[in-house]
Amino acid sequence: MDAVATETVLVDYLLHLGDNALVLAQRNSQWCGVGPVLEEDLALTNQTLDLVGQARLLYQEVARLQGGDVTEDTLAYFRDAPDFRNYVLLELPASLPRVGYAQGDMDWGVTLARNFLYSALMVPLWDALQASRHEPLAAIAAKSLKEARYHLRHASDWVVRLGDGTDESHARMQAAFDHLMPYTQEFWTPSDFETAAVAAGIGVDVAGLRPVWRATVEATLQEATLRVSSDQGYVPQGKHGLHSEHLGYLLAEMQCVARAHPGAVW
């Protein structure tokens, strides 16, 4: 690969990681102030802060590579839905399946199940990325790994607590996992930029992490007395820029102030 191609791959790869962090942060931040108990409100906001921090570091690195007028904020606020490379899993509302314009209550079970499924991936992923040949990424990975470990522990605790809690909480958690599990298929189907990033020693072969992810999921769900839901069905393609109907609404809200004042400094 020539230098230009490597940079393109690197940018796509960093954006994918950054968009994951930002989009999940945006979803989880909707709980800020309205969580089920104050301690958890704070714990989730703390994780949201970590995710915003990860997104900023990743976007800053993209901005450094791309130069010109690109900043972390142009990347967050002035790209449209098809430019985002996050997993579809992370853009879904915190509720059982519904279309984006059908308003509904948020579900803490869906939020925690998602945090669990995602951080169970990110712990081994950041771990492996510490060996990335792109040193700034390796450094971000080292920092993010610590955070992801805490996120995983927090989410696992809640999955166990809610799965092995009351009948209602058990049913809700099972429904949450049944809903979300098929979206995890996107983890294992590499995009071109991921394959190229692996070849260049920049990225990690995510499919290779599947056994360790699966082991984490199975062990936690067993402890939670939950069935491991099927992960068959439609394979989402968010990292290819093909999203659900939900991302458009998420971005419209997130970007509205920034876009109403193009060029402003905040």
Binding site: V37, G109, V265, W266
Partner: protein
């Protein structure tokens, strides 16, 4: 009567009352009311700022705002803990909030209508809160005083961040400056009212002064706040919406206009623009979270039962 005298003597000597110490029932009740009201204010106060988290116009500001709201929730936690040392549970206090028997700071019953409100809340609302709270760091009740020391430190940080947000906006586009001015116009008078009714009309103050819970009068604090804020507004380049605001060299203070106390009391008594939305949101969050709390309790009970069985 001896206990009473010893208690008052300790306070008069600027000593601290601790949870295990004897205290008059009225003192205990006053403190529970005040500390829990303060705790509720921190929690309800998360909502007007929470309103801008998903729309913060830069990632840096989003992070700062999240951290700030997290601090407020943390203050709520310290304060609930301080109240619990007086023999109530957090659940009881929350029940009082949700049923409308406990109050929270009325300032949070106003809406946050543009991004600059986030900065103005930091600068003016937190600024006024600090003014009110600094004397509480010397409050006679130890746990409350210690909580306030930590809280005041963080609030000062929030105030500086809010002011810095506004400075940045004032150096920006005309639209940004207009947003700041609009926010200042909407919040200024509400912040002056935060110090409570004029001393001439204040009911609780005298007893609280004697007990070392309150140390400076409403009007004194309000004047201090005005005197501190006017120069900051000048540096910022915003106009405070009070034509009577003017330096009075004789008094050595700024004079200012009349607060609309009728509007203040309307809001305190439930008729502000957002009272129902704030409380309705807390009630909904509490109700929506019931299954989570129940599950956590059920799970803990299962764990204990299993540990017990294993030990047997």
């Amino acid at each position: 009567a001896d206990k009473f005298e010893a208690f008052q003597a300790r306070i008069d000597a600027d000593g601290r009352i601790e949870p295990q110490d004897w205290m008059p029932e009225a003192y205990r009740k006053t403190l529970i009311r005040q500390i829990s009201q303060h705790a509720h204010s921190e929690v309800v106060g998360m909502l007007p700022e929470g309103n801008w988290v998903t729309r913060a116009p830069s990632l840096k500001r989003k992070a700062i705002l999240l951290a700030k709201i997290q601090d407020e929730g943390g203050h709520g936690l310290y304060l609930y803990s301080a109240a619990e040392t007086l023999g109530v549970t957090r659940a009881e206090l929350i029940e009082q909030l949700l049923t409308g028997r406990a109050k929270y700071s009325s300032i949070f019953n106003y809406p946050t209508l543009n991004w600059a409100d986030v900065g103005v809340i930091g600068w003016l609302v937190d600024g006024a809160a600090i003014m009110n709270q600094i004397p509480l760091c010397r409050c006679s009740y130890g746990p409350y005083a210690r909580a306030m020391i930590r809280i005041c430190k963080e609030e000062s940080f929030h105030q500086r961040q809010g002011y810095e947000l506004l400075l940045t906006m004032m150096r920006g586009t005309q639209a940004q400056r207009d947003m700041v001015q609009d926010a200042v116009n909407r919040w200024w008078w509400k912040c002056l009212a935060m110090f409570g009714p004029p001393d001439s009309a204040s009911v609780h103050s005298e007893q609280s002064m004697r007990w070392g819970i309150k140390r400076i009068s409403n009007d004194e604090l309000r004047q201090k706040f005005v005197d501190a804020t006017v120069p900051q507004a000048e540096v910022l380049g915003v106009t405070l919406p009070d034509p009577k605001l003017k330096w009075n060299p004789e008094r050595g203070h700024y004079d200012f206009g009349e607060i609309d106390w009728d509007e203040f009391w309307q809001t305190v008594n439930g008729n502000g623009p957002c009272n129902k939305e704030r409380l309705g949101t807390r009630i909904k969050a509490h109700r929506d979270g019931a299954w989570v709390r129940e599950a956590a309790l059920a799970h803990a009970a299962k764990r204990r039962a299993r540990a017990h069985k294993a030990a047997a």
